[in-house]
Amino acid sequence: MERECKNLAEVGRRQFLKGSVAVAGAATATVSTQTAAAPRAPGVEYPVVRLANLADLVVDQPLRIRYPDRRSPGALIKLGVPAEGGVGPDGDVVAFSTMCPHQGIPLNYVAADKTLNCFSHYSRFDCEKAGFQIWGHATQNLTQFRLRVDDAGEIFAEGMDDLIFGRLSNVLDV
């Protein structure tokens, strides 16, 4: 993780920390023992991971999450408006990988227009539109995590819709 730390320091140098997804809530991702909802062939089998409870979420304050394992950072965001792929009673809870699919730079959440932004190369992704790359260098839109909410308001990640940066298999072969 040395590189990530170095990179966060770089973020600080440019005074972007304030807006980064490092608005750490109490969200420590825990790997569930449940198996994936729907096995996908010939792809990988995703773990089901509890991310947080709906009660933990405040509009526009992203929780830092890890999915499908602790090396893969993401953001869980209550947008306050219904969004593509959104879950919860308001259909407004979404989660994305926060490693930019261009070069893995950590993305910052900008509440003013509900976007995730790369401070290094200026790519931007729309959290209301399934991670649509508004403008940027990535050759894919931002990977969105598939979420499920149970009756108790527990939010689980169960899969994702594209390859995340820095690994040739979304679920690492460890």
Binding site: T115, S123, D161
Partner: protein, 821 residues
């Protein structure tokens, strides 16, 4: 929903994967890529010993890792007839891009032809001929025989002026030294064709005659100069979108201040600071936004001039710099001529220029100071000046270009570290051809010849004028009408009765018909009206050499088979030349037939040796073998020698102060302001309320020829965007994603509304060359005195056509500008 590939794993390249060098075949920057290929039945492992990266792939890789590739960099292609995995990945060891890939180039893998994954199924695979109301496959022999026979008969009837040619003149895909040489040899050596035009303009001319006539070649510096400059001046260019990795890897570090050590080391005798930057552009761009983010507002000067008034600004800058005594007198005296005359002719006060450009006199004075005011200790400021289509395809191209070079010469900034006065470039370059002097100046306006019914046969090499020419509506209608005449004639006789077929075609041509031959890699809009379509190979399917915007020449080694029976353009030329020779001989004209000798090339390397090696400046030092050894860093043209098997190049042009004139002195040029110069432009501006400015977006390459089959791109831009101020939208009663009609006296087209608060009122910006809405439809036929088109100064009306269609409803319409929280 935004397009997703639903890919969650990719094959791992094994340790013994084949690795070769490639250069991105798209933009001028020419980023280096590494190509990995390996047998379809094999895979590497996560253990470092078992994969090509020598990395532990069982763990998450760090940011900017070289040990990862995106799904868009991967494909399955054929290599010598066998399926192989292919990865095309930005090269971290290339000095141009240092591992950066852009949204265009980093999709080359996915945009390769694959029978397995189905990508680029649109590619042309067989020679096609028009018969029975359609384009149908035939043999190379049959197709080329028909082309040669009709071409020869037309030339017999009308002389070589009856042969109209449209051809690429650049590097990268659809170009390269091999292919420009071959086409040049055919049309300029075996024949002396005058009625020839280039892919993006209606005549055979330089876009930068102005600079060249002053003895200043337009690619005279190196990318490192952007790291060393005190001030960068960027005119009519949007480098973050159109020359992405040049901007990210060379400009941004200087704006951030991270090249200070390098400046200190290379230029120790003067004070250094991070760069300042001036943008001359009527609109706000993502490049300006990024510069403000990195350098701060106080180091970025945006000069939002009225469209087409650059020339007045440049003359005022020259005047201020001269009056302040900031010119480089020693340089002017030693290396130039005509300074005093130029200054007298061009003298323009900031107040006069302010009236014309809409800027304030203070902005102009500030710009002059940023360009030329000496640094502490009286050291000369190093200023790099760049320009691209805003100037090249703008008002009074020739004089405006010269007015800009005047500034660079007056301040001694050409041939000097941190300087240069260069075009940014669109394509890479790859020009080596026999002399074109027989064409003359101005060159024939080929589009007008076609519209006027002149000529009988049209050879098209990788051009799609229906998307990329001016006055496109009239051009398209004339083209359809004339080629239809030939189609009716073809259908009036049995196809296989060659003698009757040729007679029928010639009869139609004499009635004003046009026989159209189209060489391309994919079906095009203009090619749909052709009678013969010939399938070409592209970069990677053949060995191909080009140079980038700092004249860095590299070889892209062939890494896959072309689709079907497609051939490299140079070998198509060779076969066509041989067919022409046979045809002239059959016609009893051996003296003409003999002119088509010298095409016995078996490979593209043969064409390279015949062309670049024998004819380019310094070409004798350059071979495929040496280029292969030089990898993605290549060398900078011109080559001046070979040391230890390595080609020695030239970092900057004119560093010895000798320019490209007979006496070696650069010429200043008188270039006074004369308003909107192209015929009809002033009236168009006065008659129509909206500026229809136009240009590129980073998602798409050139005329979208490959991207039109990319789900990723067509999902983002199903229609060309029209950036427009929200207050204008309210006035027009349109919403984001609505389809609007843009119309004026030249024609009409359509675009998709993209709300853009930074757009000035009544100044829109439309994506250029898009198949679902051709901006060229509304561009007038007006050109400058050397037949350079004027796309940028276009005015029109706008009205709503339709509410946002389904294809635009899932799109995002948020600002393209990066934001800090």
């Amino acid at each position: 929903m935004a397009y997703k590939r639903e890919i969650d794993r990719l094959p791992i390249p094994p340790a013994d994967a084949k690795v070769t060098s490639a250069v991105c075949h798209y933009c001028i920057v020419g980023c280096g890529y590494k190509v990995y290929s390996w047998d379809i039945n094999r895979q590497g492992g996560t253990d470092p010993a078992t994969n090509a990266f020598g990395a532990d792939l069982a763990v998450q890789q760090r940011v900017e890792t070289p040990n990862w590739f995106a799904p868009a960099m991967y494909n399955v292609v054929k290599q010598d007839g066998r399926d192989v995995h292919l990865v095309l990945k930005p090269d971290h060891d290339c000095v141009v891009n240092a591992g950066l890939g852009s949204i265009r180039g980093a999709r080359q893998g996915e945009l390769s032809y694959s029978e397995v994954t189905g990508t680029q199924a649109q590619r042309l695979k067989d020679p096609l001929v028009w018969r029975y109301s359609g384009l149908h496959p035939t043999s190379w022999d049959d197709a080329l025989d028909l082309v040669a026979e009709v071409t020869r008969r037309v030339v017999e009837d009308q002389g070589e002026d009856g042969l109209l040619v449209s051809a690429f003149d650049h590097g990268g895909a659809g170009g390269g030294y091999e292919n420009t040489w071959a086409t040049g040899k055919l049309y300029f050596e075996s024949m002396k064709v005058r009625n020839i035009r280039i892919h993006n303009r209606p005549a055979y001319n330089s876009e930068v005659h102005g600079s060249r006539d002053m003895g200043v070649g337009e690619l005279n510096n190196c990318y490192e100069d952007a790291q060393l400059a005190d001030t960068i001046v960027c005119i009519g260019a949007n480098p973050l979108e159109a020359q992405t990795n040049y901007f990210l890897n060379h400009w941004i570090p200087n704006l951030r201040g991270s090249t200070l050590e390098k400046k200190q080391a290379e230029l120790p005798d003067e004070p250094h600071d991070r760069a300042r930057i001036i943008f001359v552009d009527p609109r706000w761009t993502v490049s300006i936004n990024a510069s403000v983010i990195e350098a701060g507002r106080d180091r970025v000067l945006h000069l939002p001039i009225k469209s087409g008034t650059d020339l007045a600004l440049f003359n005022a800058l020259t005047t201020v710099i001269a009056d302040q005594g900031w010119v480089d007198h020693a340089f002017i005296a030693a290396h130039t001529a005509g300074y005093d005359e130029m200054l007298q002719a061009n003298r323009t006060t900031p107040e006069q220029a302010a009236t014309i450009t809409g800027l304030s006199p203070e902005q102009i004075r500030t710009a002059a100071a940023w360009i030329a005011e000496p640094k502490a200790g009286g050291k000369r400021r190093r200023t790099m000046i760049v320009y691209e289509k805003g100037l090249i395809w703008g008002n009074d191209n020739y004089r405006t270009n010269q007015a800009l070079v005047n500034i660079a010469l007056a301040t001694g900034n050409i041939g000097r570290a941190g300087g240069g006065c260069v075009r940014m470039g669109g394509h890479q370059e790859g020009y080596v051809r026999p002399s074109d002097a027989h064409i003359g100046r101005p060159a024939p306006y080929v589009d007008q010849l076609i519209i006027q019914g002149k000529g009988g046969v049209h050879h098209i090499w990788a051009c799609d004028h229906f998307k990329t020419t001016l006055n496109a509506t009239e051009f398209r209608n004339a083209y359809k009408r004339r080629t239809d005449l030939v189609k009716y004639a073809v259908e009036s006789v049995p196809y296989a009765d060659r003698a009757r077929l040729i007679d029928a075609i010639m009869g139609a041509i004499r009635q004003g018909g046009l026989f159209s031959v189209n060489v391309d890699i994919v079906p095009t809009k203009i090619g749909a009206h052709s009678h013969v379509v010939l399938p070409a190979a592209t970069s990677g399917e053949m060995n191909l050499t080009s140079m980038n915007g700092e004249r860095r020449m590299r070889l892209t080694e062939r890494y896959m088979d072309p689709p079907g029976r497609a051939l490299p353009d140079c070998l198509i030329v060779a076969r066509l030349a041989q067919k022409l020779e046979e045809s002239w001989r059959r016609a009893g004209k051996p003296e003409i037939a003999d002119r088509f000798k010298g095409y016995d090339w078996q490979t593209e390397e043969d064409a390279f040796m015949d062309g670049f090696h024998r004819h380019a400046n310094g070409g004798e030092h350059v071979t495929y073998e040496r280029l292969r050894a030089a990898g993605t860093n290549g060398f900078q043209e011109p080559a001046v020698g070979v040391e230890d098997g390595r080609i020695v190049g030239t970092k900057r042009l004119y560093s010895d102060g000798r320019f490209g004139t007979a006496d070696g002195r650069a010429r200043f040029a008188a270039s006074p302001w004369r308003g909107l110069e192209a015929a009809g432009k002033e009236q168009e501006r006065d008659r129509f309320p909206y500026l229809i400015n136009n240009g590129r977006a980073n998602h798409v390459w050139q005329s979208i020829y490959l991207d039109q089959a990319s789900d990723f791109v067509m999902d983002r831009w199903p229609y060309p965007f029209l950036e427009i101020n929200p207050a204008d939208m309210a006035e027009l009663g349109v919403k984001a994603g609505d389809i609007v009609e843009i119309f004026n006296d030249n024609g009409a087209t359509q675009a998709m509304v993209y709300p853009t608060p930074t757009a000035r009122r009544k100044e829109t910006f439309m994506l250029f060359a898009y198949p679902t809405g051709v901006q060229g439809n509304v561009v007038s036929a007006g050109v400058n005195e050397l037949i350079i088109p004027n796309y940028k100064q276009t005015w029109g009306n706008i009205r709503k056509l339709a509410d946002a269609p389904e294809a635009t409803r899932h799109l995002t319409f948020k600002s393209k500008d990066y934001r800090v929280a």
